[in-house]
Symmetry: C2
Subunit: 542 residues, 2 copies
């Protein structure tokens, strides 16, 4: 054989998380894959796999073909986990939508993604109803819940009816191309309109493997779904829990009383949550003297956690690990892996380290902090640079937006917009953000988008929105507003105006009226507003 | 974008274990990557990476180009771990040779692989010397050890001199094709001559990830090299330990006193070993009342472990996991993953379960037990079938042997030759073997090869070699021999004759002289000889 001859790939199979389900249904068929803490339903891996196959078959029966998109708007429940396998098994891509968005935002995503089918949970009918007549090319299907039994809407199919329609055979769990789309995840952009981040089967497979390695989940683990599955497909844990053969418990809403009860009664070993959820959990636990009986590992991310937030959880005996990433990196891209030489530090010192972003996970391949000429910054804990990423767990690009995709991959690397230092042992720590983005409670908000809404108010002359620190949410948007001469407006009035047009998490929590600082050419100097709000703090993000 | 349009892979990188080293040298640069228990040398990940780059550069400087093969004959030492990264970094394939083979067998492998460079350890000079003049197209380079300082042989370069020759620049840790060869591992075939099993970068990457997930190794783990690195590249642990950022400790020989001392003094957390090594370790520990102070996980495989062997280790507080696989599956293909519902069983019952082959690991994709029509056997713990595999962690094929490769992939699946049942919970258990192979102490022996040697003795008329059970080695070869009329020969004489021509582990441990049972057409009925030896046992392999 000549040295460089192509070798026939006899045993080659394409990488896809679908193989996780194939394996787990064989190896753990009799064990619970997922149970709902809301309605008590539980499915073994064998039942779960059967439901997934049935769902995929119903999708194909309904006319879904290779490469189509299927949208989903639902709180966490077994059906959402099923969709993470059923939609790709039908050779389509899943578009899991943030249920905190407004009707118009959801409509934009349904249209932009070109979704053919749209599954939504009955409980969210309020946000769906206004757009039902506008999505004619997309069939809406309601997922009934025991909590919210079906009512009749002529234009909407019911989920059970849909499942029973399954007649097409699903040939195999093997796919043809590991670089094909498994999901499109919409995220806020600096320009305002949500961007569709494209995930491949290969990327999802590899990021899920890293989730398993990072978390140490096994077939004896119990994973609680405090993280919404629409967030980067639950940071790829939707696929990871099935890969590990763990038991998933879904809850539709994060109520701290309920969460602590489930942790106790179900023996939960792992959960993921944004820092703001940890604030709620810790403060409830402190007031009720909750003590853990079993080891609990918590993974936090979506926004930089304050050391104090970690500290309050660790005081309860919880082991917290900080994961950093973004929608464009399939969720987690780095982890603040603990080093045993830090064991001797005080709790406060340990939590300060735990709040760092850390090192890339094993499948992230390449994550570094660079200066403007793409040179790595020295590992001195002082020199700032931008975090850039390359590798199989970086998105394929933005759906239907070649220009933005190419711009985001300058010099072959994805540019995160996060500014960080690197500590001598190689651990990354974020200090600032170059993009006009606010991260609040794990959700991204474009300040430009919020400003546009403010400008649309007839009494507003000028507006600038910046992030300000907040104990619970990390950051919240604050609006600086100049009114038109002779007009008057209260913060309450302007807030109500915003809440009509924007998802509530995007609305400014604070308003300040007055002149805006400007350059000589008349440009608003937002950095002056930001500096004022963050004065005395070591970092410019939270 | 049309549904099935090819998407540009902006962030794509090819999978290779080389990325493990790139990451670990960044994330764990100051921590020990490998230390030698023989000579006390230790290298941090940063130093280790530098040595690897230097080695790769020296290989390129010496004329190694893409796709070339580099052979290595050495006991475990830091250089062997380095070669697992340095050779692929030089874009060549590593041929790590079993140092228990004879000179002629090694010569065959050097020639068949077409290796351009041949590194060998001084201590093994005895087996290398007879073939030095015969490998003219291959440059021999000696790895000196402190235990065996260099002596001068005019035809041999020294390793240090070789390293210092490095002048060519190694551009990057990124490779061009993840399906290219990272290693060729020679293993005994049924036909006698060793077969070169081809490993790809992709397969090595994925199998190493499974090693990490199975073992739970982290950057705080300490891995002891009781398993020779030439065995399926240390079952891919050569790459896995670096991926996990663990500390490796090499030992050249498995001496139980030394092993237990290192476990104690170095805080070893993980090791791999064939069952026969566990027999030695357990019996020494029992006699010395050794008690573990730290949790130790042991992974055993290469041959089916007897439940008693596992039991004796578990009595010491060691957690044993059985991994099953073969050279053709990059080492481990299944693991007998523990299920918590078995916790309540007695030690004897638990060890009987632990001796099973279990379930495929997460990256093994597809492993099943089938009947002759490739239909899966029922999971009843009774119906036998052959274990077959498909997936990225199955070899690319046999080097320079297209016919044998195609034969081994009947119906698109690799046929293991191992006959097994599947238990109701999906766990595989081997009961017999369809191929004429003996597995002794983790080494494969072709009975045909041994028979050929026996037939070459002038006094031998007929010979048949079968596996017989053995407490220490699992199985050993036994020869049934008919002498020529008028000739006489003792077992000792015939044994000495074999030991001259075969690696010692291949030589029959027992001889029986007399008539051989035959069919009416004169074919030797080996199954009758085997049945006699295994009578009363539940399985026909050990």
């Amino acid at each position: 054989m000549p040295p460089n001859a192509k070798i026939a790939l006899h045993a080659h199979v394409e990488l896809t998380p679908l193989s996780f389900l194939a394996r787990s249904s064989n190896a753990y068929g009799d064990r619970v894959a997922v149970s709902s803490a809301d309605d008590g339903r539980a499915f073994t891996y064998s039942e779960f796999a059967n439901r997934v196959v049935k769902f995929a078959s119903a999708l194909r029966t309904a006319g879904i073909s290779n490469g189509d998109r299927v949208a989903l708007l639902s709180m966490n429940r077994p059906e959402v986990l099923e969709a993470h396998f059923g939609v790709p098994l039908a050779r389509a891509s899943l578009v899991a939508i943030n249920y905190r968005l407004t009707s118009d935002e959801i409509l934009y995503i349904l249209r932009h993604s070109g979704s053919k089918l749209f599954f939504f949970e009955r409980e969210l009918f309020g946000v769906v109803e206004p757009i039902l007549t506008k999505i004619k090319s997309c069939t809406a299907i309601a997922i009934s819940s025991i909590l919210h039994p079906p009512r009749h809407y002529p234009s909407i199919k019911e989920y059970d009816e849909f499942l029973e329609s399954a007649v097409k055979k699903i040939p195999s769990f093997e796919i043809q191309d590991e670089n094909s789309l498994i999901a499109i995840d919409y995220t806020s952009g600096t320009t305002g309109q949500p961007k569709g981040v494209m995930y491949s089967h290969r990327g999802a497979y590899l990021n899920a493997l890293s989730d398993i390695m990072t978390s140490g989940m096994t077939s004896d683990s119990v994973y609680l779904w405090t993280l919404p599955m629409f967030h980067c497909n639950g940071w790829c844990y939707t696929w990871a829990v099935v890969g590990a053969g763990s038991k998933s418990i879904t809850i539709s809403k994060v109520d701290p009383v309920k969460v602590w009860n489930i942790i106790e009664s179900e023996g939960v070993t792992h959960l993921c949550a944004a820092p703001t959820v940890l604030v709620t959990l810790a403060s409830h636990a402190a007031s009720k003297n909750i003590a853990l009986k079993k080891k609990l590992k918590v993974f936090t991310g979506g926004a930089p956690p304050a050391p104090k937030v970690i500290e309050n959880m660790e005081k309860l005996g919880v082991e917290v690990t900080h994961l950093y990433g973004m929608t464009e990196t399939y969720g987690p891209n780095t982890l603040c892996e603990w080093r045993s030489e830090w064991d001797g530090l005080s709790l406060v010192e340990r939590c300060a380290i735990k709040a760092r972003q850390g090192i890339p996970h094993l499948n992230a391949q390449e994550t570094k902090v660079v200066d403007l000429s793409m040179k790595e910054v020295p590992h001195d804990g002082m020199t700032m640079g931008e975090i850039v990423m390359k590798g199989n767990t970086v998105m394929l690009g933005y759906f239907k937006d070649k220009t933005l995709t190419e711009r985001s991959f300058r010099a072959g690397w994805f540019h995160s917009g996060d500014l960080a230092v690197v500590h001598p042992e190689g651990y990354i720590e974020i200090r600032d953000r170059s993009k006009d983005i606010i991260v609040t409670g794990g959700e991204k908000v474009s300040s430009v988008e919020v400003e546009k809404v403010l400008y649309s108010h007839p009494s507003v002359l000028e507006a600038a929105v910046v992030a300000v620190p907040d104990d619970k949410w990390g950051e919240v948007p604050k609006a600086f507003v100049t009114l038109r001469p002779g007009k008057s407006l209260t913060a309450k009035e302007l807030s109500d105006f915003c809440r009509e047009k924007l998802a509530h998490f995007k609305c400014p929590k604070h308003f300040e009226f007055g002149e805006l600082p400007k350059t000589s050419t008349g440009k608003v100097m937002k950095f002056i507003l930001r500096e004022k709000e963050w004065k005395g703090l070591a970092s410019r993000v939270a």
